[in-house]
């Protein structure tokens, strides 16, 4: 057993690929992101494919009796979750611009994102 008390910090990347309200994946992943940060791990988030719709501004799921969790993304920097990446190809394919999103993001090409992904310790898709 290691007696070393210094905690291990791993690089976790969460890859969001599903639209927000049709399934519970998006909301559950956001919970996971916050829990991971609570354990002082390095957390980054990627939004690609229909996952980019999670960041679209103007969402109001009150008519579905669901929580508007898109507002929570704005609070993530308070939890030291600052790295948010969006795949350019996914954004373009859906006619979205960065101005349409609820938070500032870093837009990367597939190749750039792929490289970044290869530098993680843990990659979790949803």
């Amino acid at each position: 057993m290691p007696t070393d008390s210094v905690p291990t910090i791993k690089r976790f990347m969460y890859v969001n690929r599903r639209a927000p309200h049709g399934t519970i994946y998006a909301q559950e992943t956001l919970e996971l992101v916050m829990i991971t940060a609570a354990f002082d791990q390095h957390v980054s988030q990627v939004f690609m494919d229909d996952g980019v719709y999670q960041l679209k501004s103007g969402q109001d799921p009150s008519g579905l009796a669901m929580k508007n969790f898109s507002k929570t993304f704005r609070a993530l920097p308070d939890f030291d979750i600052e790295d948010v990446y969006v795949e350019a190809e996914s954004l373009n394919a859906r006619g979205l611009q960065v101005e349409d999103l609820v938070i500032p993001v870093t837009v990367l090409s597939s190749a750039e994102l792929g490289k970044l992904m290869s530098q993680q310790d843990v990659v979790i898709n949803s």
Partner: protein, 103 residues
């Protein structure tokens, strides 16, 4: 740079999981097709061109039990893809530093 194993379990005609995986996978990575993902291993599949286009720089694997279950024959597959059994699956996972399941 880690050596990553990408696991795809969705049919290429049902979800874009494989297409997305192939956009982001880095040369030298491995891609394993399991469950409904094995349909992408067919030479006749809609995704076979995409897959073969990156076949030279990615190592491709397919789980034999999932092919067999779906009545897919070895001679229908894209060239160069390697068939593995469950023990081989375990070896692949253990042999890569990071695994990613494209759910």
């Amino acid at each position: 740079m880690s050596n990553m194993l990408h696991i795809v379990n969705k049919s290429p005609s049902e979800r874009p999981a494989l297409a997305s995986c192939l956009r982001l996978a880095v040369a030298g990575n491995s891609v394993l097709l399991i469950e409904d993902g094995v349909y992408a291993a067919l030479a006749s599949s809609s995704s076979s061109e995409q897959l073969q286009a990156r076949g030279g720089e990615l190592k491709l694997y397919v789980l034999e039990a999932d092919l067999q279950a779906r009545g897919l024959q070895d001679d229908e597959l894209i060239p160069g893809i390697e068939l593995i059994d469950y023990a081989g699956f375990v070896d692949l996972v253990a042999g890569h530093t990071v695994n990613q399941s494209w759910l």
